[in-house]
Subunit: 247 residues, 2 copies
C-alpha cells in the first residue's frame, strides 16, 4: 500500500506552512476549538499523536498536563520543524508513517490524530493498531476531512457559484464510491482516501471502540459576520471529528 | 410542537400507496434488505414499530418469530389499511404520533422505525422515550432519509444535470443548518426535519445508547446495470440506518 508523504514535497511544505501561519484559517476557527472541546483530561496521561506535523499540538498536550507525548509523522521536514520549535524532554518525535504504529511497543491513554487519517489508505489497520496501543478505557480522538469533502469526480468544480462567484451549493459526487481521489492542493496529486460516514464509524465499532461523540463544526452567525468567506461551511462542513473509547 | 400527519392527506396517501406497490422501488431495492441485514433475532421478542404505516412489516416481524408486535402510526388511513391487510392476534395497532410513546406502559426488546423519524421534530424526546421503553440490552434500529437528503434551500433543483438531463451531481445546501424543510413529494408542504449526522448519533449516545452499526445503502454495479435509474445513489444515498443498543 502506498504511504503518501506529500508534506516532504518542497513546494507543498512551503505553501502549507504559509497557510497555517495565517492568523485566521479554518484550523484556528473550527478545527482546534472542536478538538479541544472533545479532548479528555490529559493530566498525567501518555499521549500518542498520529501525524503530529509541526509539533505545536504535542507541546500543547504537555501544557495540558500530559506526562509524555509521542508524536509521529511520515514527513522528515515536518519533524525537523517540530524539533526546532516544540522540543521538550517529555516529547519524543518519531519519523514513521502511521501505518507502521504496530511496531511501537508501548501503551497510551490517549491517541489523537488531527487531520491526517484521510491521507491513509489502510484506515482499518490503523484503527486496529490504535486499539491495541490504548490502555483499557483509553480515548481515540481524531479529526479528518469530512466525508462530503473527500469524494470527487475529478472533473469540474466542487462548488456551483452564482453570477457573482458566490458559492450557492456544494457539488456532491461519488459519495458512495470509496476510492482514492487525487486533487490539487498547493501542488497536483494530493491523495485523499474517501470513506463514507458508515465506514468511518463501523470500522471503529467493529474494532471494539464505543462511539462517544461526533462533531461536524460549522460557523456561528457571529463568526460569519466577521469572516464572511466562511459562510460556505453552512453548506458543507470541512471537518469530521470522532471521539471513541476502547471498551 | 407540530405533529405532521401527511399520510392522512387523501392525494398523498393514494400516490404513496401506488409508489410502494411498484415492484421496483428504492424501498425494495435498498431499504428493506438493509433493514433486515441489521435486524436482531426476533424469536420470542416484543417489538414496537414506530410509524408502522400499512402494517406489512409488523406481519413480517411476527413471521420472524416475534411474540408480540405493537405498531403505532399517526395516520388513521394507514392503520385502516394495516388492520385490513395485516391483522394477527399477536399484533396491536395503535393510532398515536410517535411523540406520544411516553404514554405506553410496557417494555420492548426491539424498537424499529422505518423511514419515519425525519418527519418528527422532537427527535431527542423520541430517543429518550425509546430508551425508557426498551429492556436492558434492547435494540433500537431505525432508518431515515439520509442527512445529505433532508437539507435544502427551498430553491432550485436538488440535482445538477447534463444537457441530456442525466444527474451529474447532487446540490448540497444548508447541511449545517438544522431546520424544517418543506418540499413537494406528491403534494406540497411535506415537512422533513433535517438533522446533521452528528446530531443523529450524539442524541443516541447522550441518551445512553451504544452505536452498533451504521448503514448508508447504495446500489451494486449489477443492480445499476439492471435498473440504470438508480445510478444517482452513487452520488447521494437515500437512506441512513442506525442500529443502537441500550446499555
Amino acid at each position: 500500500m502506498s504511504k503518501q508523504n506529500i508534506y516532504d514535497n518542497e513546494a507543498f511544505f512551503e505553501e502549507y506552512m504559509k497557510l497555517r501561519s495565517r492568523e485566521v484559517n479554518a484550523n484556528n476557527l473550527f478545527e482546534l476549538p472542536t478538538l479541544y472541546s472533545l479532548m479528555p483530561d490529559l493530566e498525567g496521561k501518555k499521549v500518542l499523536d498520529l501525524g503530529c506535523g509541526s509539533g505545536e499540538r504535542c507541546m500543547e498536550y504537555i501544557q495540558h498536563g500530559a506526562s509524555k507525548v509521542v508524536g509521529i509523522d511520515i514527513s522528515e521536514k515536518m519533524l525537523e520543524a517540530a524539533k526546532k520549535n516544540y522540543s521538550d524532554p517529555k516529547i519524543t518525535y518519531m519519523n514513521m508513517p502511521m501505518e507502521d504504529i504496530g511496531n511501537i511497543d508501548e501503551t497510551f491513554d490517549v491517541v489523537i490524530s488531527s487531520l491526517a487519517l484521510h491521507y491513509v489508505e489502510d484506515y482499518e489497520g490503523v484503527v486496529k493498531n490504535v486499539y491495541r496501543l490504548l490502555s483499557d478505557g483509553g480515548i481515540f480522538l481524531f479529526s479528518q476531512e469530512h466525508p462530503v469533502n473527500t469524494c470527487y469526480s475529478g472533473k469540474g468544480d466542487r462548488w456551483t457559484r452564482d453570477e457573482n462567484g458566490r458559492k450557492i451549493h456544494a457539488n456532491l459526487e461519488n459519495y458512495c464510491v470509496e476510492n482514492r481521489y487525487d486533487s490539487k492542493w498547493f501542488v497536483e496529486g494530493v491523495q485523499r482516501y474517501h470513506r463514507m460516514f458508515s465506514t468511518v464509524i463501523n470500522t471503529l465499532t467493529e474494532a471494539g471502540f464505543r462511539i462517544v461523540k461526533i462533531a461536524e463544526p460549522y460557523p456561528t452567525k457571529e463568526l460569519v459576520d466577521k469572516y464572511p468567506e466562511y459562510y460556505d461551511n453552512f453548506h458543507k462542513p470541512d471537518f469530521l471529528f470522532v471521539k471513541s473509547q476502547k471498551t
